[in-house]
Subunit: 211 residues, 2 copies
Amino acid sequence: MAVLLYDGFTALDAVGPYEVLCRVPDVRVTTVAHERGPVRTDTGELSLTAERALHEVRRADVLLVPGGGNRGTVAMMEDGRVHAWIRRLHRHTAWTTSVCTGSLVLGAAGLLRGLPATTYWASRPYLSELGATYTEGRFVETGKIITAAGVSAGLDMGLHLACRLADERTARAMQLAVEYDPDPPYDTGSPEKADADLKALALKLLEDAAV
Amino acid sequence: MAVLLYDGFTALDAVGPYEVLCRVPDVRVTTVAHERGPVRTDTGELSLTAERALHEVRRADVLLVPGGGNRGTVAMMEDGRVHAWIRRLHRHTAWTTSVCTGSLVLGAAGLLRGLPATTYWASRPYLSELGATYTEGRFVETGKIITAAGVSAGLDMGLHLACRLADERTARAMQLAVEYDPDPPYDTGSPEKADADLKALALKLLEDAAV
């Protein structure tokens, strides 16, 4: 499983699926970026290490493209070298996946034309510009492409993928292994559950913390 | 907010709370380890960068101690230098927090004597050896100490802490910002929802993937 990292990615988009997939038997995870070394997240406060450079990874059974802040996502949507890498890997993947605005990067690489997909709630309108059709769900599977909704949706997608890669029993065991019995103190995790003011505040908090 | 990193920590334990707290106004997050530089997780497949060494961080408003695999947790439970650092920070924190087996590290540092606490489901029996009383809940608050249950429980605790550090509206906005509207495909995220075979499998998957 190759996890693309890039300047301005969102940490949980990558770490959520990693955490529920890395212990599935025979799954080995690696992180990939333009160059090896530390890669900054969208807040600039955290770095994950890219273990490999793009040119070192020519095949993967699973490709995961995390989302990022506006700046990072837009840069990836305009990065032809990354698009060529994604398309090359996609030819041989068993699963090509994204979390959050990672689907916009898949779309910019030309992978989502005519397909149902999801993305970060505030980015849903952009999917149609990339030829995809926004479809409801924590994740949307079409052929071998799975796109997940925003940030934390990668956990739900990851468990589904654990089932696809192994079996349902393994996926259920991984849910227990990460004690994923969610019980958030509030219930405002989707735009359908939030009023206009709360949506505006969420976007403002994201913008204010972006680097 | 200082996030302790150590060889063998669990990525999501640190990244879950980080992701819901890093955009709360006036919150600044830093990562701390024995030395600056990349720190390997419990699978050996992912590294996060420690931005600062222990001796460089003498105060923090929030301390977060993530859990780890058996090897990493035991090493931290025996690391007197880390315990001294935790105790020193704890004297002035507003909140001292842990996720998963991070509570065993707080306990080994002497912070949980006579207090209610939680930890990773499979590690609950160890709390009493450290003078704490296992208490049910995704997270347990006692005074200024909050301990969260396993791995993904850090997300729920993080939202609660976002409310404590700012206000409920900000916490609700952060839940939306990370689109945390959980909908796992299964319902086996706690030991109360799993049979003995599934528990054994979860622990075996953890052990087989440990380095």
